[in-house]
């Protein structure tokens, strides 16, 4: 996978989630630089899932907690590239790459036989400046979408629906000023619109004369 191995910056997370309807969906967020992984209490999530739904209606702003997949050791790349007849499902746009496979966050071993997991590679070309906070927002939105499309057929069309929704979400984050363009990016073509200057995001125009 050239795409995953080219840029190894801190914004590389891989987020893996079970697609199947078994219910014990887990997602893992793995920072690339720090090896320590944040494990969520999976069993509690399972039990409280019904209660969560009620609570979510009450507090509307509550974000969905990403439920990561456990890290796997000894992941081998299956070496099934397209020219050897390998197939995988993916949705690849500039900032969102979703693969129905397990991708090891460190070695980038690409195991597309594990089709029950979805891996999200966020902004591999480093167009935006990401913080942990905004990453978590995107991941929780991804988890929300994965839960929403539960039971849908696992096709590229569905993956592209999810990927496009995440792209629109990233655009929304950009427009509200939560993420910024990375001015040190390799390709600086402002693919989500030119940066706007001249006003801050508090709703007030800046005073030009001062």
């Amino acid at each position: 996978m050239a795409a995953t191995s080219t840029y190894m910056a801190s914004t590389h997370f891989s987020m893996l989630g079970y697609w199947t309807t078994k219910g014990n969906k887990q997602l893992k967020r793995r920072n690339f630089l720090s090896v320590s992984a944040q494990q969520t209490e999976v069993e509690e999530v399972k039990v409280e899932k019904d209660e969560e739904k009620k609570e979510e209606k009450q507090e509307e702003q509550a974000m969905k907690q990403p439920r990561p997949v456990e890290p796997q050791i000894n992941v081998k790349s299956k070496n099934m590239s397209r020219e050897y007849g390998g197939q995988w499902l993916s949705s690849a746009t500039r900032h969102v790459r979703i693969y129905a496979a397990y991708i090891d966050p460190e070695t980038f071993a690409f195991d597309q036989t594990q089709m029950d997991k979805l891996t999200l590679i966020l902004d591999p070309t480093d167009e935006f400046v990401w913080t942990d906070d905004t990453c978590t927002k995107v991941y929780s939105y991804f988890q929300e979408l994965v839960d929403h499309y539960e039971g849908a057929p696992l096709t590229e069309y569905t993956l592209r629906l999810i990927g496009s929704d995440i792209e629109h979400y990233i655009r929304k984050l950009l427009y509200t000023g939560e993420i910024q363009y990375n001015m040190n990016a390799k390709v600086l073509n402002f693919s989500m619109g030119k940066p706007r200057v001249g006003f801050n995001y508090n709703g007030q125009m800046e005073d030009v004369n001062q």
Partner: protein
């Protein structure tokens, strides 16, 4: 207003409807989907050995789907070959039209494109599957009631 071919079809008791002539004076006929395969064979035997084009369109919102065939009779030493245009209409709910692949082989990809864009399923077509869109695509893009999904495309890049 009846063309030569229409008169010939009437003479042989074949059900059709004349739709007049197009701007080039080419006779246009409407044929029912259930009769279309047998009439296509009859046209081939009559001498229309060349299918110039096949296309399809959506007639109106909520209306019928049409599959159009332009046939030509190719012979030696003819500078004005006989031509005819056939339109076959199918209902939007269950659009089934017999394929003429086994009569004119060149209709293969064009019927696949009509299937891909409008969802007309051609019976007896050997490999009727999407040709332009990805195979997992949902919906028929050229139908008038098609709503494009809100897929992300790069629009603002400079």
């Amino acid at each position: 207003m009846q063309g030569r071919l229409s008169a010939w079809l009437v003479k042989h008791g074949l059900i059709h409807r004349s739709l007049g002539f197009d701007y080039q004076g080419i006779e246009t006929l409407q044929i029912k989907p259930e009769d279309w395969h047998s009439i296509a064979v009859i046209f081939y035997v009559y001498g229309y050995n060349y299918l110039r084009s096949q296309c399809a369109y959506d007639v109106a919102p909520g209306g019928l789907l049409a599959s159009v065939y332009h046939l030509t009779r190719i012979e030696d030493g003819v500078d004005q070959p006989e031509e005819v245009c056939i339109k076959v209409f199918a209902s939007r709910r269950n659009p089934r039209i017999p394929s003429v692949f086994w009569v004119w082989k060149s209709v293969d990809f064009q019927e696949r494109e009509s299937y891909d864009m409008l969802g007309i399923s051609y019976d007896n077509h050997p490999r009727l599957k999407r040709i332009l869109m990805p195979e997992s695509w949902i919906g028929w893009p050229l139908r008038k009631d098609y709503i494009a999904p809100n897929f992300y495309e790069i629009q603002d890049a400079h």
